[in-house]
């Protein structure tokens, strides 16, 4: 079973990389108001039961993929 995980900085945490990307796009003439940069993972879980698999991925996020002090994560089934 395959999942995607997106990890992004929380709303109130400064994202200087996102800001630089945003300013560069604006300089290129693009029309946008905000960018937040994040990380993306694709995970194949060795588990057929979807509830259990989702629980596994959630644990992966909490234990390693995201730092919950500064980051939020979203899990999607692919």
């Amino acid at each position: 079973m395959k999942f995607s995980v997106t990890v992004t900085l929380k709303k109130d945490v400064l994202d200087p990389q996102g800001k630089v990307v945003q300013n560069t796009l604006i300089n290129l003439g693009m029309n946008l108001s905000n960018i937040r940069q994040g990380k993306y993972f694709e995970i194949e879980v060795n588990e057929k039961d979807q509830t259990k698999a989702e629980k596994n991925v959630d644990e992966m996020c909490k234990k390693l993929l995201a730092n919950l002090i500064i980051e939020d994560y979203k899990v999607n089934k692919l």
Binding site: V13, L14, P16, Q17, V20, L64, L65, N67, I69, I70
Partner: protein, 225 residues
């Protein structure tokens, strides 16, 4: 006093700290991260560097390595633990210290000597310094921007758990003296029991007048007595 320095793939300040510890009469041992037992230690040092190439987040992978369970156990039993630079990042990833180190505000790797002020000298790590004494210590990092939640910040202030703050040449703590955007200029913190210190500046680089200054020596001599 017996010390252990934990070595990860990508650590690069491990030998500097070993030289500093030996100079200060510690009996030091290097411990590879795959070990599952720690030698008997009064002090454990998690050194600076780029463990695992800073993959995922600085310190994230090292913070889950085999030896870390032993470090956590020892720390919880009162053993002194010092995390410098990447070591500080690793300690926050293990949960031994709260908070985290974000990318420097200016997005640049900063390598320079800065001034830091001793905020609390009533600890095993800092007792040889005077309160509010300022020291010239080298920093060399890309992720040194200390961040934590408001509740923890309040606790740090209330319980005197801030070890060092960045300050200017006169000792004033202000935005101009803050090299990396750290919350309230914080350069180093203690845990509640004050047996764990995490700091971004490198005291082990300041133990010899020949190559720098000796402002870092008192940190180690505080511990030896």
């Amino acid at each position: 006093m017996k010390s252990s320095v934990i070595v990860f793939p990508g650590s690069n300040c491990d030998r500097d700290i070993a030289v500093a510890l030996t100079k200060m009469q510690f009996k030091n041992k290097m411990v590879w991260h795959k070990e599952t037992r720690l030698p008997k230690s009064d002090l454990i040092v998690v050194p600076g560097g780029f463990s695992y190439g800073d993959y995922l987040r600085s310190g994230a992978i090292a913070g889950k390595s085999l030896i870390i369970d032993e470090v956590i156990k020892a720390a919880n039993n009162g053993c002194l633990v010092l995390g410098i630079c990447n070591g500080f990042q690793i300690l926050t990833e293990t949960g031994l210290l709260k908070g985290t180190l974000l990318r420097n505000k200016n997005l640049k790797f900063i390598n320079k000597d800065v001034q830091i002020k001793v905020m609390n000298n009533d600890t095993k790590f800092t007792k040889k310094y005077k309160k509010n004494q300022f020291l010239k210590i080298n920093i060399a990092h890309n992720e040194g921007n200390f961040f934590t939640d408001p509740l923890h910040l309040e606790k740090l202030k209330k319980n005197n758990l801030i070890a060092f703050k960045y300050c200017d040449a006169k000792g004033d703590i202000n935005d101009e003296a803050n090299p990396n955007g750290s919350l309230e200029n914080i350069a180093g913190i203690f845990n509640t029991k004050k047996n764990i210190l995490g700091m971004m500046p490198h005291p082990e680089r300041m133990v010899d007048d020949l190559i720098s200054n000796t402002d870092g020596i008192n940190l180690f001599s505080s511990l030896i007595n």
